[in-house]
């Protein structure tokens, strides 16, 4: 299963979900699978995707939140698993696209190519975590995540694929569109009536 194919399977199931995507290929594939206002594309701050998603999930318990992280990114912020495990909001799903490489920067191998096990790390932090390698396993894991009463992690082993497009570059546009989509519009951004 390629990351592009897996992203498409996930996006096809989205309803009113907020989605936060890690910079580079995970964000590009999310955009290509279906741009939507409730997608928050990061363009920097590598490693923080799951943390941003946790913050949204804590602020908005009514809103299902999905983080699309990468193996290299999550390895930069493994402590996030401990915090998510401690808070464990039921409305948070963290999907880790594990292609065992830094795909956006040229395909250099990550520690998962040498045996580092992110699903085991997530379980060790008290999270409900599953590793999947096929599309059918991924679908079943997503079904289970929908019913989970605590935060869930799915580590999906995926083949790298070069995305053929990019999301908007305007960070403030991404933020304002996202906040309006989930009903958290910033005061003042649309002017005030007379």
């Amino acid at each position: 299963m390629t990351r592009r194919e897996a992203t498409g399977r996930l996006v096809a199931r989205l309803r009113d979900h907020a989605v936060v995507a890690s910079l580079g290929h995970p964000a590009y594939d999310l955009f290509l699978a279906g741009d939507r206002p409730a997608n928050f594309y990061t363009w920097g701050s590598m490693g923080l995707t799951s943390s941003i998603a946790l913050g949204i999930a804590l602020a908005r318990p009514d809103c299902p939140v999905v983080a699309l992280d990468g193996d290299g990114s999550l390895l930069m912020n493994l402590g996030s698993l401990a915090t998510i495990g401690a808070c464990s909001p039921a409305n948070l799903l963290v999907v880790v696209w594990d292609n065992e490489q830094y795909g956006t920067t040229g395909g250099q191998p990550t520690a998962t190519s040498l045996g580092a096990d992110l699903a085991a790390a997530a379980r060790a932090m008290g999270l409900d975590a599953t590793a999947v390698t096929t599309a059918e396993q991924f679908d079943r894991a997503l079904d289970r995540a929908d019913e989970s009463r605590r935060a869930t992690v799915i580590v999906a082993k995926v083949e790298e694929s070069i995305p053929g497009g990019r999301p908007p570059l305007d960070c403030v546009f991404i933020k304002q569109r996202f906040m309006a989509a989930i009903g958290a519009c910033e005061p003042g951004t649309r002017g005030a009536g007379a």
Partner: protein, 174 residues
Amino acid sequence: MAVSPASPPAWAPRVCAGLAAANVRHIVYVPDNPLSHLLDVLAREYPQVHRTLATREEEAVGIAAGLYLGGVRPAVLMQSSGLGNCANAVASLLAAYQIPVVFVMSMRGDPGEWNAAQVPMGRAIRPLLDALGVPFASIDAAEEAESTVRAMCDTAFSVRFPAAVLLPRRLTTA
């Protein structure tokens, strides 16, 4: 040891009052001795303000950014040394996306410091905040704590940019 006295130092309830007056509703923190006074006051006097422990300052910035995106005004409590752990997140997340997060930083490496290892980063805090374009104010007396915190928060949330309030050692160790 982080042993909190029964009655907190005068600056602590005033900092908390400033945060609450600015409608800060969620605190993300990496703890420190002086900050434990703030956390105690928040837990006792402001139970409606949520508190989340982060493992590292960079992670705290990510969580706080998400809280803001979800419509909640956030503040990050951390020791000043943590600014070095989160500089890229401040720049490429908070500044780039214009996400206001208010930092309350207990200072290390400033006058009164005893630990040589803390001094180089302590000297770098103000130049680093300047370089990142993050406005900051230092609270030098307890009497000004509430108004300074309130003003820094109000401007941060109005202009949508991070800001920092520094708690110098001469305040917190007095």
